[in-house]
């Protein structure tokens, strides 16, 4: 059974700083997803990582996947207030099911 753990669960960042959210998963997963959720809203897909060493970037966010370490990271560069949200990673299993981490609540302040 796939288990997904994120850390930290809460992250308070200053604008302009860099930080990384970590996502560890317990068993083999053939794909890893990152989602963003704004308060009161639904989940929005950010990245899909399909193979070892995959790296994807969109704006100030960069996601990577290391299948040997069973680790994905979401790196935030020069944070801005608009990035404040909850970020989830999720591992893919059979039938297209996803197992989600607990979520990381990110707050970016001046």
């Amino acid at each position: 059974e796939l288990k997904v753990e994120q850390n930290p669960l809460f992250l308070s960042m200053q604008e302009g700083k860099n930080y990384t959210i970590y996502c560890n998963y317990s068993t083999t997963s053939d794909r890893l997803y990152w989602y963003r959720q704004d308060p009161g809203k639904s989940l929005e897909s950010l990245f899909v990582l399909l193979s070892n060493g995959a790296v994807k970037q969109e704006g100030r966010l960069m996601a990577s996947l290391d299948t040997k370490a069973r680790l994905s990271t979401l790196h935030i560069t020069a944070a801005v207030h608009d990035l404040s949200a909850t970020y989830f990673c999720a591992g893919g299993t059979s039938y297209g099911k996803l197992t989600f981490g607990q979520g990381t609540i990110l707050t970016v302040h001046p």
Partner: protein, 112 residues
């Protein structure tokens, strides 16, 4: 653009009532999912369906059932609502085998 819609954004029900949550997707996706989201617990899968009239239990199916009579529609049923089913319910759909899941806006259910 993929669109997943849910019948209600907010719902208030009484303990013991039968509750229906509807989800409709317009992208001809085979897979559909129901999750509940609770603070600190992330999203937990209740049921999913990979074809019409097919359903599989997720991680927390107790107290819930589902129905998928048409490809675009997936319903979640709370047979007898209880207060511990107060939660945010999210529906999602995807196309196999590795497609991203697209989520609906969610239904916030309060059971009194």
């Amino acid at each position: 653009d993929v669109k997943v819609t849910q019948s209600s954004r907010y719902l208030v029900k009484r303990t013991g009532e039968k509750v229906f949550l509807e989800c409709v997707q317009d992208m001809d996706h085979e897979n559909m999912f129901w999750y509940r989201q609770d603070p600190g617990l992330g999203l937990r899968l209740i049921y999913f369906s990979y074809d019409v009239k097919m359903k599989e239990k997720g991680d927390i199916p107790e107290g819930y059932s589902v129905s998928r009579e048409k490809k675009e529609r997936f319903s979640l049923i709370l047979e007898s609502a209880s207060t511990n089913q107060t939660s945010m319910y999210l529906c999602a759909s995807s196309r196999p085998p590795q497609e991203t899941q697209y989520f609906g806006p969610g239904t916030r259910l309060l059971v009194l």
